[in-house]
Amino acid sequence: MSAPSAASFGRHIRVEGWEFTVSVLVGLGCGVVLLIAVVFLPWWGDNLTLNAARIVSDNLYGAAGALTAPWLWLLPLVTLLAVVLGLWGALKSDYDGVAAAGMTLVGLVGLSYFLLTFDRRTTSPPGAGYWLALLACLGLVGQFALAHPRVIVAVWGRRRLPWSLPKSAWPLVFLLPPLLLYFVWIIAPTVYTIYLSFTDWDSVSDPRYIGLRNYVYLFTRDRNFTESLINNLRWLIVFITVPTTLGLAMALIFNTEMRGGRWYKVSFYAPLVLSLPVIGLIWAWVYNPRLGLINQFLMQVGVSPLPGWLGDRRLAIWCVIAAAVWRQVGYVMVLYLAGLKNLDPTLLDAAMVDGANRWQLFRFVILPLLAPVTTIIIVISIIDSLRAFDLVAIMTRGGQSTQVLANFMYMEAFNNYRMGYGAAIAVILFLISLVFIGFYLSRVVKEELEY
């Protein structure tokens, strides 16, 4: 008997007339459906929060007013076992028969819950999750029958399964889920945002089409927009110069063998481990004009008058950028260190034999060889500076002339409830980013062709 199935992977000991791989996959599918039904779907009634997992936990926790459902804990158990058995059977095809049989037993256990509670339908109407779980349990029991070719013939009318696709179609099948997710979460929202930017939506009423008015207002009347653009530009210029040079310098220093070099590397990399909001909070303390680290130090030294840092309109944006640079330097250093480790030592030796001094060695050998790393670092810096948001939101909430595009967009959309206007800012930010990303991609594609 040969029932070739494209879904069967690897070595397979076949019992005459039985094709367990299909059953195991169907069982696994039932397990996943069960998982979704138990965790996400309403169990009793249509209250979304009242799903099976919640009811079980309420019973265990003894919450006030909890539904009493003594045997419901069986289902999470069944779900877990079905998924584990399904994965085991699918990955170890030697044991898929055992897995299929196990899933049938597990399904029977699941069905027993429904037998016990079936008469309760009258007091509390079951929700979608309840019915879907029942179907999945029936599937778990029934999948065993699918293993027999005769059943397959009876169900589909021929021996070949409908999902035995031609080989060339398989890449598409595997690409489809990620493409679908990409469409739902990236493409569709982008298109929707572009549409919203032509409306005056306030997130409550219906959006109304107003043409280019949002854009016209942005470019002709809005001081905050110009301020944000200038601040983003400042951020960008500082970001592609200061952390890059400092990071390169530190990488060159720490690349040499030195006592405690590893400690220095770790300590400069440490800020990257902290999340940006935490960095914002720490630096807000450091900048505190009365109790902060900097002014306490300046006071000891005898500086007067003490600067106001975040309280000073001319200094505030530079204070925020400095905090961002503090974090970025370690990152750039690590990238350059990796680049330096990959340099071909023979090239360096050859240059030294030719009598190059340290500066010439750096300028004409190391720096050109590091060019690919530098490109990546500059692109990362540009993107990081364009999406700057966290630090501004935490440290000043855009006050004190520190507004940047991302925070400006956030404020307009979610504080002032001008979603259409916020969308217009988002579109402009997107277009600016697109220029740099396009430049980067064209570089990458060209380099790939060269090699």
């Binding site: 209250n47 006030a64 409550v204 009347r221 770790v266 481990v273 720490i282 309109r313 004190q400």
Partner: protein, 460 residues
């Protein structure tokens, strides 16, 4: 390799700790407060647990009833209000096991951002905390708030709520809001520092305030502290200066966008503000601190006054509270009526509420005398009901109630009286003015442009 990895990890942890220790050197006083707060939360958390266990046993014996929970979203994120909220919910759940409240309590600022998502979500929360004034009217106009006139009538709230608060709850003749508490704004000060500077009585007129500033400056004490990093505390100064200069009706017309910002009255307000700035009344770099950080100079005896809401006492060290008092914002023009900021908080039901029956019952409970009495005793929040017993209140509370009762008009606060974009632009303008008072013409022109834009958009 694994040993090196281990040491690197240890290094990272040590460095981050060192950074944290180096940067966060809070005053010992602040540390004390934190400890106190933690203790309180632990105490209150235990209460609902005990209650819950008993109730569950009971339910299991009874006929299984479908629990129709009430979804309640609250912004009582600060420790004391949060403990109060949790206790209220626990009490309700103990009495109504068939209709338990499921609460989601989040931080004040986050709540303000999230409420639109809540209101247009499905299912929407049944009961929500919110602010009276423009903030509520906005949602009422868009049909997102449920008409609770029946709940008002059924519970005879008309008879026990002061008429001013019923007016605050009413839009177009129907009640949409349940105002439950309010707090006053005033100038808080430390009597001991006033004594040190030789100030014998609290300032009642603007000149006396300027005089107090001069005396405090003479002994090296910053007269007035303010933390305007997140802008809104500056709006308190604008509210009071404008109400004292031009009267409350002018102020409410301005925030309703009926008066241009380039008006002569607004200029007079800013001229008075400038007198305070020129007299060096304020702390240096007000925009460098958030409102709680600006309390520190007061605690340390380096600053004497702070125009702030009554909630300042929640963040003020308990052991220093006997050296904290407040006085009414000084009179500038004795001929105009006296207006006070008394932002009113309360509850409403969303128009999409699933459990409208339970929501109304819970709302009635939140507006009951029992809960208001507790809010009054435990949080010192002023009750909106007239039948709450206030005889046991501290002298400070009695003084605050008198302050509000003697006012001719109650305002809600700048960012609650005007629209969100205008509030944002206005508060930004106030800080720009603070930074450079000479820039006033440009600032007022910008604010007027924003007002015109909002009017044009609403007019369509």
């Amino acid at each position: 390799m694994s040993r090196q990895l281990f040491w690197s990890l240890v290094g990272v942890i040590l460095v981050s700790l060192a950074v944290l220790v180096a940067c966060a050197t809070p005053t010992p006083v602040t540390v004390e407060v934190t400890r106190e707060v933690v203790r309180e939360v632990q105490v209150t958390v235990e209460v609902p647990k005990e209650v819950r266990v008993e109730v569950t046993k009971e339910v299991i014996k009874e006929v299984p009833v479908m629990a129709r929970s009430i979804l309640y979203n609250s912004y009582a994120g600060d420790p004391k209000p949060r403990a109060f909220d949790e206790k209220t919910i626990a009490d309700w759940n103990a009495a109504h096991p068939d209709m338990p409240v499921e609460a989601s309590i989040i931080a004040h600022e986050d709540f303000k951002q999230a409420i639109r998502a809540y209101l247009t979500a499905d299912p929407a929360p049944d009961v929500l905390t919110w602010f009276a004034g423009n903030r509520t009217r906005f949602f009422v106009r868009r049909g997102l708030i449920r008409d609770i006139s029946k709940m008002w009538a059924d519970n005879k709230f008309d008879e026990v709520y002061a008429p001013g608060f019923k007016a605050l709850a009413t839009t177009d003749g129907k009640q949409y809001f349940l105002p439950t508490s309010y707090y006053w704004w005033a100038i808080y000060y430390r009597p001991s520092l006033f004594e040190k500077a030789g100030i014998t009585k609290t300032p009642e007129t603007f000149d006396e305030l300027l005089d107090a500033c001069a005396k405090l400056n003479a002994v090296g004490i910053t007269p007035i502290t303010i933390g305007a990093r997140f802008k809104w505390p500056a709006a308190g100064w604008f509210d009071y200066l404008n109400m004292r200069t031009n009267g409350p009706q002018y102020h409410i017309d301005l925030t309703d966008l009926k008066v241009p910002y380039t008006d002569e009255g607004v200029r007079k307000t800013f001229a008075n503000w400038r007198r305070l700035i020129d007299a060096k009344c304020f702390i240096e770099n007000p925009a460098a601190f958030d409102w709680q950080e600006a309390i520190d100079p007061m605690v340390q005896g380096q600053a004497a006054m702070y125009l702030m809401g009554q909630f300042i006492v929640d963040s003020y060290p308990d052991e220093l509270e006997n050296d904290l008092d407040f006085f009414r914002f000084p009179i500038i023009d004795p001929n105009v009526p006296i207006g006070e900021d008394a932002p009113t908080d309360g509850y409403f039901m969303s128009a999409r509420a699933r459990n409208s029956e339970g929501g109304e019952a819970f709302l009635a409970y939140l507006g009951s005398r029992e809960v208001q009495q507790r809010a009054f005793e435990e949080l010192g929040r002023l009750p909106t009901r007239t039948d709450v017993d206030i005889s046991k209140a501290s002298p400070a509370i009695q003084k605050g109630i008198k302050l509000i009762q003697s006012a001719d008009f109650i305002a809600q606060f700048y960012d609650r009286d005007t629209t969100p974009p205008m509030a944002e632009a206005g508060m930004d303008g106030f800080l720009r003015f603070w930074d450079n008072p000479d820039d006033l013409d440009q600032i007022l022109a910008d604010l007027e442009a924003e007002r015109q834009r909002i009017l044009a958009e609403e007019g369509q």
